[in-house]
């Protein structure tokens, strides 16, 4: 069942229309159409190699992942031809599966520069002076249970998997994007950390009305996140989309079964 979505109608959120993605000459995503209203939480599920992460990379503008067909828009702006930094300024955020370590780049200084970058042209985001900002940054760290010491360290350097994921959330709190793409939030993370991360995501989403598109292949995440919509991908195509009922079926039967039963 293909839904033809007109960009005009849902211009406020994220709209993908017939998106195909190529990496290293191989097509890994075929003709994906989906849309997300502002403030909604969507989960994108599927087995390994189904193209979920590739899709997210392409949405963010990774040079190796090319969108060969279709369009992507956020808040009415077409993103498809823009470089990653411009997409970020239009309100898109990507929480990496493996956040990169940047040696010598002090976390506190980096967060401050993000604050300055993203508060420039936005009337709703007031620019804080260094003292105000640092106080705020410490609150963010506290909210995700990250030790304040990390602020003095190089960005992500020597952080554990869970700590890196939490640092992605801290950056998200500083930037306050319109839409956050979260890639495999559960990989490398123990159960307690996962619960805490999911709880934080929900709080952020409610507080700042951030749209969330979360990629995972772990059905347990569904119960922690309670998404508005779920999409299932397999072999690069979108197989099924649904709401709470689909979520219940997946939790009960696992998504493989749900997909194959179609």
């Amino acid at each position: 069942m293909k839904k033809i979505v007109k960009v005009k109608k849902l211009s406020k959120g994220l709209v993908l229309q017939g998106v195909s993605v190529n990496v290293a000459g191989k097509q890994v995503v075929h003709d994906v159409t989906l849309s997300l209203n502002p403030g909604e939480v969507h989960v994108l599920m599927g087995p390994n190699g189904s193209g979920k992460s590739s899709l997210l990379y392409a949405l963010m503008g990774h040079p190796q992942y090319g969108i060969t067909k279709g369009t992507v828009s956020l808040g009415g702006t077409i993103l498809t031809k823009l470089p990653p930094e411009k997409r970020a300024h239009k309100g898109l955020f990507l929480g990496f599966q493996q956040p990169r370590e940047i040696q010598g780049l002090r976390t506190a200084a980096f967060l401050r520069s993000l604050h300055l970058l993203h508060s420039k042209n936005k009337t709703s985001k007031k620019q804080q002076n260094p003292l105000e900002f640092m106080k705020q940054a410490r609150e963010y760290m506290h909210a995700v249970n990250l030790d304040q010491d990390f602020l003095g360290r190089s960005l992500n350097e020597g952080f554990s998997g869970g700590e890196k994921k939490k640092m992605e959330l801290v950056q998200m709190m500083v930037i306050k994007p319109k839409l956050a793409l979260l890639d495999e939030i559960d990989s490398g993370v123990d159960m307690d950390a996962l619960k805490s991360i999911c709880a934080t995501i929900k709080i952020l989403q409610k507080k700042y009305k951030i749209g969330i598109l979360l990629v995972t292949h772990n059905p347990r995440v569904l119960s922690y996140i309670s998404p508005d919509y779920i999409h299932i991908m397999q072999d690069g195509t979108l197989r099924e989309s649904g709401g709470k009922k689909l979520a219940q079926r997946i939790e009960k039967e696992g998504f493989k079964k749900v997909v194959s039963s179609k």
Binding site: M60, G61, H62, P63, Q64, P83, P84, E85, R87, A88, H89, F93, L94, F96, P99, R100, I102, Q103, G104, L105, F110, S113, L114, L117, H118, S154, Q171, I175
Partner: protein, 469 residues
């Protein structure tokens, strides 16, 4: 001189044709002032009014220089013509260029680094000195009260001959290498520092305070002595581009660190692209003493420099931190040498190099542990970052370990700018240039953060500027 001659000389000075301040009836060879000979050396020593022992030392070194072959390794020195060099220049000699002829890029760099206007002309080779003399002299008064000596090498020899004679050339003999021999024969300028027992020099002593054409010569000789229990930090150079009309710089730096004393010697070198910078630097550390070389090489066409530490007695510690940046047409051949000549000694070498636009950076290191040196620990880490496909990095680490009761570690990495790292930062809203800047400055940070703050800030700015060009 009669009135006619005075008037003639005066107009010559005014017109700019008066070069060296010599009388007009001087012998042709010396008037032309190119090339080296015994006569040139004798004249140098005579004009400086040096004691006989120094003249004899120079002449002996000259003989050694003539006999020594050029090094068979390292950078390409084949274009050096010893006969085309002026070995002695009067302190008030004409400067080489006009401000209007200074390249715009250099002027822009001064502007962006915030270099005070008074200093720019001097750094660009268009002025003979700037008014730091006042700072220097008031600093000297404070230091003298504590018995600290901070002079030019020439003045040090005149005012404190006993100390100089005791230590001069005890760390680096004239026979060490061809360029040390050359320096020993024709040295002029440089710094002499003596810190008495138990005295700690709180603020870094900076060569910049006494800077003028005489102090910043091609054959500087520096001698630093830290007596027992004392400490001092000496800083030379600056990150702003510094013009030298002389293409051969062969400096010698000797440091003696007595029992329980500490010396840090920081260098930030950004010579103009015509310079061959061939430096011999060595320190001796005695019982429980600590020597720290912090060496940043940004400029010159070719630099060959391997700060060395001899850990002569038990408990001595040595550290060399080196940052090299090689851009188009540059070869930074730098590194470190540590010799463990006593037990219970430790050393650490950290080298970081950046190469871009076809620049070449080389790490050349030597660690020697002599048979008598047991309970020794050595840690060597060299990391190279290549900013593009054209650039080059080489590593030549040598370890000569003659005692088995030691802990030695050596790690080396070569990397290029990670695409994933760039994308990660860009996904946060940084432009590709800003992302590259964060990565490059981050790479240099472990070394830069050890510089005095003003130098660190300037160096960060300079790296950022280099990336845009």
């Amino acid at each position: 001189m009669d009135t006619k001659k005075i008037k003639k000389t005066a107009s010559a000075v005014k017109s700019g044709s008066y070069k060296l301040g010599f009388r007009t009836d001087v012998t042709p060879i010396f008037a032309a002032n190119f090339g080296l000979s015994r006569k040139v050396i004798e004249e140098i020593s005579k004009r400086k009014q040096e004691p006989l022992w120094m003249l004899e030392f120079r002449l002996k070194a000259y003989e050694i220089f003539l006999q020594k072959p050029m090094p068979s390794w390292g950078a390409d020195l084949s274009t050096i013509d010893f006969d085309a060099i002026q070995y002695y220049v009067q302190p008030d000699a004409q400067n080489s260029r006009q401000w209007k002829d200074v390249p715009q890029k250099i002027k822009d760099t001064f502007e962006k680094l915030g270099i005070p206007k008074a200093e720019r002309k001097f750094l660009a080779g268009a002025g003979s000195q700037f008014d730091s003399e006042v700072i220097y002299h008031s600093l000297k008064k404070t230091l003298e009260g504590k018995g600290i000596i901070f002079e030019s090498m020439d003045d040090g020899l005149k005012k404190h001959p006993e100390i100089v004679k005791k230590y001069f050339s005890t760390v680096i003999p004239s026979t060490d290498n061809k360029f040390a021999a050359l320096n020993s024969a024709v040295w002029s300028g440089g710094t002499f520092i003596y810190v008495p027992k138990g005295v700690h020099v709180e603020l870094p002593l900076q060569a910049y305070f006494r800077i003028n054409t005489a102090a910043m010569g091609q054959f500087e000789r520096t001698l630093i002595i830290a007596d027992e229990e004392s400490s001092v930090h000496y800083v030379e150079g600056c990150s702003a581009p510094t013009y030298s009309k002389d293409s051969l710089h062969a400096a010698v730096v000797e440091i003696i660190v007595h029992k329980n004393a500490r010396v840090q010697y920081t260098t930030i070198q950004n010579w103009s692209s015509n310079v061959y910078n061939l430096v011999t630097k060595r320190a001796v550390a005695y019982r429980d003493a600590e020597m720290f070389w912090l060496d940043c090489n940004l400029g010159s066409k070719i630099t060959m420099k391997y700060p060395c530490i001899i850990l002569r007695e038990e408990g001595a510690r040595g550290e060399v931190q080196s940052l090299a940046f090689a851009s188009a047409g540059q070869h930074q051949d730098a590194g470190a040498k540590v010799i463990h000549a006593a037990p219970h000694t430790s050393s650490k070498i950290q080298s970081r190099s950046l190469s871009k636009d076809g620049g070449r950076s080389t790490y050349r290191g030597l660690v020697r542990v002599l048979p008598q040196a047991h309970h020794v620990s050595v840690n060597v880490v060299c990391d190279a970052l290549l900013l593009d496909e054209k650039s080059r990095s080489d590593t030549y680490p040598t370890m000569n370990i003659q005692n088995s009761d030691v802990v030695i570690s050596h790690e080396a990495t070569v990397s290029k700018i990670g695409e994933e790292e760039l994308f990660y930062l860009q996904s946060r809203g940084l432009t590709q240039h800003e992302a590259l800047n964060a990565i490059v400055n981050g790479f240099a940070t472990p070394i830069i953060k050890q510089l005095p703050m003003e130098y660190a800030v300037e160096l960060n700015k300079l790296l950022t500027l280099e990336l845009t060009s």
